[in-house]
């Protein structure tokens, strides 16, 4: 069951009534219990074995977090280290085993004839990358003394809370766990915001992302050799925006679900394509992942406390690991490397010269750099990348797609991105004035309009694969 599917929507509406009735009748504790049961049932709708795996993971992490505090008030280090090792091993087996196996075999086969590693048939449990990181963030926070170990049920819910379970945002304990533990009555502070976020998600995900995919990204990436250089460039930009609409639309709907349950989630996207440098980009794109990598990889490696050169090495390692987190494939590693090298180049530039380029130029440079990165992100293998880039020299044929329309759409997207925040605020203010049925009608009218405009079929979520 996916969050934008009709069946999820209908079940969720029914669930909301039960949830809020329970809140007024039995209080927050009962609501938490209901959420926990619902989260596990939700996960079971994908595969019950996933739920067992999640339960197992959560119990181990929670037990180790309890073990951090000794009787005499001393914090122990070993549970934290053991937890990190176990969690990464768990992730490694389910996500990376086959990658390593095939790569290792490819390396071994010239040396040893008939080398073989056992084949293990694993199914990638959806969301494992996300809950592993959320669990580690919790364990390390406890280990560093930033928060206290949670009670069993609270901890289980923190790691399985169904809006964030499949693809984040990756919450810190100070963001989600604290809200779960709060004894006060739960509130929906701004219902119009939830409705606005659902509308925003429909526009981004069901309409724009699907439209870009259908009209541009899929055809151009399927057969790059038959397109004009200009179309290839358009296709790449379209893919960049498709990714953004897909993932930020997803985050919007998840945030709306959490709001309707009385929770607020951390921000995951802040108009990333307006970034004027690569480091700025990573402060705006998939923020909860970037800061996880920063807090637990980059800073753990020493961050920028040692020499300048060491800082760059740390940066490179962090970015490569971030790339590898996205998928068990060499192209994701290369994508991480691309961004790491880009950051190093940017830092070197700043070290050498104090020349500051105008924002408009740096923004375009950053966007172009990021777009090329997405080519690596999407490619299945190296050949796909070279085929695509070779096409940039093809200027003689006649473009067959409506590239003017796409360029116009790009301009509109950039302009809207600039005005996104005040626009959201104004719309929220306007919606707040409406009575409940007016808000409902607005949602229905826009939903119907989008269904008319959107390409047919249920769009998939790109980020579920990670």
């Amino acid at each position: 069951m996916h969050y934008l599917s009709p069946e999820f929507g209908l079940v969720f509406v029914g669930f909301l009534w039960l949830y809020w009735w329970l809140g007024s009748a039995r209080g927050v504790g009962a609501q938490n219990l209901l959420l926990l049961v619902a989260s596990y049932l939700f996960y079971c709708s994908f595969d019950w074995r996933f739920a067992l795996l999640l339960l197992n993971f959560s119990l181990v992490i929670l037990a180790l977090a309890q073990a951090v505090h000794g009787h005499n008030g001393v914090r122990r280090r070993w549970p934290m280290i053991l937890g990190v090792v176990l969690a990464l091993a768990n992730l490694g087996i389910f996500k990376y085993y086959n990658f390593f196996r095939e790569e290792a075999l490819a390396l071994l086969s010239p040396l040893f004839n008939g080398a073989s590693l056992p084949v293990l048939e694993f199914v990638l449990p959806v969301g494992i990358s996300f809950y592993t990181f959320q669990g580690l963030a919790y364990l390390i926070s406890v280990g560093r003394g930033e928060c206290k170990p949670a009670k069993l049920l609270d901890g289980l819910l923190h790691l399985s809370f169904f809006p964030t379970l499949l693809a984040g945002p990756i919450c810190r304990p100070s963001e989600l766990l604290v809200q779960i533990q709060a004894p006060d009555e739960r509130k929906v502070a701004a219902p119009e915001l939830a409705i606005l976020l659902i509308i925003s998600a429909l526009i981004k995900k069901v309409w724009l992302s699907a439209w870009l995919a259908e009209e541009w990204v899929n055809p151009v990436f399927a057969d790059p050799e038959s397109y004009h250089a200009l179309e290839l460039a358009c296709g790449l930009m379209a893919y960049a925006w498709q990714l953004f609409f897909d993932f930020s639309g997803y985050t919007d709907v998840v945030t709306a679900l959490a709001l309707l349950l009385g929770f607020s989630l951390p921000v995951n996207f802040r108009q990333p394509y307006l970034a004027t440098s690569l480091s700025d980009f990573w402060r705006r794109w998939h923020i909860t992942l970037s800061r996880w990598i920063r807090d637990y990889v980059y800073i753990s490696l020493g961050g920028n406390r040692a020499s300048w050169a060491r800082t760059q090495v740390n940066l490179l390692i962090a970015m490569v690991l971030s790339g590898f987190w996205h998928g068990a494939s060499a192209t994701f590693v290369v994508w991480g490397l691309w961004h790491g090298l880009g950051l190093i180049a940017q830092n070197s530039w700043q070290k050498i010269t104090s020349l500051k380029l105008p924002d408009a130029i740096t923004q375009w440079l950053t966007f172009a750099f990021v777009c090329f990165g997405w080519l690596l992100f999407r490619a299945e293998d190296w050949r796909a990348v070279t085929t695509y880039t070779a096409g940039f020299s093809r200027w003689d044929s006649l473009p067959s797609l409506n590239w003017i329309g796409l360029l116009a759409a790009m301009v509109v997207f950039f302009m809207l991105a600039r005005r996104a925040e005040p626009m959201m605020e104004k719309s929220a203010a306007a919606l707040r004035l409406l009575p409940w049925w007016g808000q409902g009608l607005t949602l229905v009218a826009i939903a119907l309009l989008i269904m008319e405009l959107a390409p047919a079929g249920m769009p998939g979520f790109i980020y579920f694969g990670f």
């Binding site: 009709p6 929507g9 009534w17 929906v188 050799e225 049925w437 409902g440 079929g457």
Partner: protein
Amino acid sequence: MSAVQDTESQHLKALLGITFASLLLVAVKGSALLQYWQQTHHILLEFGSLPKTSSYLPDTPLIREWKRQWQNTSDYWAGVMAQSESRMLLAGQLLLVGDKAIPAPVLPVVAAPVCPKQEIITQACPEPKPIAQQTEVKPAVNESPAVYATPAAAMTASVTTNSAADTPAPEHRDEPDSLQPDSLEPTPLEPLPEATPEAIAAAQGPITLTANDRILLVGDSLMQGLAPHLMTNLKRKYKVETMDLSKHSTGLTYPAFFDWPATVEDAFELEDYSVVIVFLGANDPWDMTIHGRYIRFGSEPWAAVYRERVARIINTAATHRARLIWLGVPPLGREDLLGKAPKLNAIYAEEAAKMPLFARFVATDPTLTSDGSSFTKFLELPDRGSVMVRTDDGVHFTTQGHRLLANLTLTQFGAANTGKTPTNTADTATDNKITQR
């Protein structure tokens, strides 16, 4: 925020708003919802489909007039938008590539359907007819002075009439027929190969491709994955252009959701394809309802209806003298799909065998399984050891799997006049061995 003291009303407001919106959406989009439900969960709801929204409006002349006007207005604006869009595009193309952007004048084909040769006018330009009669025209074509009055052609014709007579021809077939003379026009000019045993044997050899040929790809998400590999290789080796129509979640079981036979017919109206590659079926092993009757997957009536849809696609290709390659459904590893592929493949193979001059069925199992028939996720390949060819869902392919399939498909082709052996067309030497296993 001021919401602190009246929390109760705030979540109630949210609940009411959201619930109201969902109920309204279900009421308005009920039939689409049911269709979605049937398509994704394959559960047939007993209470039939909800009436359409427009049927809630009273059917008075005034409202009918409104509907008509609304239709006219929206059609008009859609036309205006499309026109200005294409003008903009032409202006931009002119800037970019100069004169080349001006489309070459389109010669009479579209303007007026003129039949070029006197003696074949009667056959080549039939009156618009529904499909049942239309297939009967074929023997008449064969009787013309040309060479193709042969047993196999006669057999083909009788088969098609039979299958068309079994089930009523779908109504929407009527309108495209008015365009039929256009697309049929060139076909009688090229004499069919004689369907002697030798001709059939020759037809089973590699399909020759020249740079002028166009290839049509038809299929579901499995084809969507395979298409890029096919397109690139076909272009590289034979300089042929390929049109990929594949669409995820489609098949032949739910024509209300997506109608492949009609789509293929429409595609041929627009362009003359010389080869069609079909890869369908993974979404099909489900029960159907026909005129409110519930039909189990695999039962006799199910097979009859399904067979007719397969035959329609094959007939469309044959009518346009196009070669058709039907790729069999590989064994599926998902629990609810286990063992269902062979039933579908039997139908494809039988239907393809009825048109030996045009259609061929290519089984994918030998290439994609270790024992030739059961689902295999990891395949032992020479040189590479065991590689993952299927994804975790038990249905789709990995890149490696797509390569194997693409090579299998490419072995069906050969370049004209080069006398290449079919396997030479395969991707790389390594992958070559794979296909031959």
